[in-house]
Symmetry: D2
């Protein structure tokens, strides 16, 4: 069901090959598009799977996309230093409902600290209109046993 | 797959019978437990479906539970006045990972305003330890055509 | 003590002439710099007045600047329609302490809705480094008696 | 102008005697009331000093109180371990304006982690009505040179 695009950043190959299609990001259909150092983009197709019964995309889907994209991108960036990325907080604001097409997400790191990364995520619909935003804070910790 | 418990509040029967099992809250397994006026509780069983590949519950799942529970509970409360509940924002903070058992959520309305409701949601594991919190703000709007 | 720059936007003159220098924004020294439709900037000089005892700027000062700037800018934009701007929420994240020079704030409206405006505010030090961010949500309501 | 009440917690005397009355918490009139381990309360009198020109308390004042109270209370609790408390984020939501009397704040620690503390702060007016809430996240770090 899922479709993780391979990504090599700073000569580090992405580390999540394990049966992703049984995990949560696969469940709702997260597709990573670009994974650059200064911008990561992703997409989720709108089907009933991500809708509320009233026909619009469930707010938790935006928060999930933001959390998934920022966790993965931070992990990929710090894994070479034997570090681990762990979500601290996720603040998502809903501006305009999406009911069809795709949800397009673009995440930009505002701060890449030694212990904390902060990401700004913007969501738009197929018409390019801003529909939601997330601010995601990710802790960077030593990997135990490293 | 899903299991919405029937709920009648203020003589208003819950309004979401339509194929819930194809929508997002069903996808990740949301189960409403109690629906009181001053407290709503819910539960999600931890399986790979809600985990990240590293084995802990995906942060987006907490945000989704909070969003789902608070939207539904606000909707049920205002539907009798021909009003609609729409999510405005969701701020979820992660304190301690959960990797097995169930996620237990308890939502309490802090403010029931004319145009905005504010909810405080606490998540705990099977041992009763606080694992995450959400603050969810829901707009209450006139239902078009009402 | 304070220095509100005059501002005319959409032929509407700013409406806050009343003894601003006795109110909170004046107390901590808010100075509006530019007030454009797509960007508002402000500045606060760092003195003991805005510091915590340990020598760095108090976190509440960033939140206050964001709240002040976004409330004023939204008010100015909607006052011509007999509407009022009222703060709904303020989420400020601290990235790097400032201990001297000035706090420079730049606020950009992400969403100008009928009932809600969302602002993104970035704070930097004299060296241009990002030190804090705020997301401010402002409600737009009918002015009573209008 | 300021009025820090002395506090001894876990046999540690509060450490902020230095000319507090020239710093920000003093500027807007923060008064600590109780400082228990499970609850800290504070108060600010409403005068023009903390108002916006339209007559209600400035949103930044609530955020500042929350930030001040939680930073101080965390500092006092960890200073005995040679650690330092530094604000990470402050999310304040405004529910009901206050225009006179006092702002009453009560802060409760939801999580006292090794590296992060999370506080829930509630603000009420003289009538005991909930007027605003803050969630404050404070980092706990080694004190350099300790």
């Amino acid at each position: 069901m899922l479709l993780w695009h391979a990504a090599v950043i700073n000569n580090v190959m992405m580390l999540f090959p394990v049966e992703l299609d049984q995990h949560f990001d696969a469940l709702y259909g997260l597709e990573l598009c670009e994974m650059g150092e200064d911008r990561v983009t992703a997409r989720v197709a709108v089907t009933d799977t991500v809708r509320q019964p009233i026909g619009i995309v469930h707010g938790g889907v935006y928060a999930s996309i933001a959390e998934g994209v920022c966790s993965i991108a931070t992990s990929v960036a710090v894994v070479g230093d034997s570090k681990l990325a762990i979500g601290l907080s996720n603040h998502t604001t809903f501006l305009r409902p999406i009911s069809e097409g795709s949800i397009h997400a673009a995440a930009v790191p505002l701060h890449r600290g030694r212990t904390t990364w902060l990401w700004d995520v913007r969501f738009s619909d197929d018409g390019g209109r801003l529909c939601a935003t997330s601010q995601v804070c990710i802790a960077v910790r030593e990997r135990k046993g490293a």
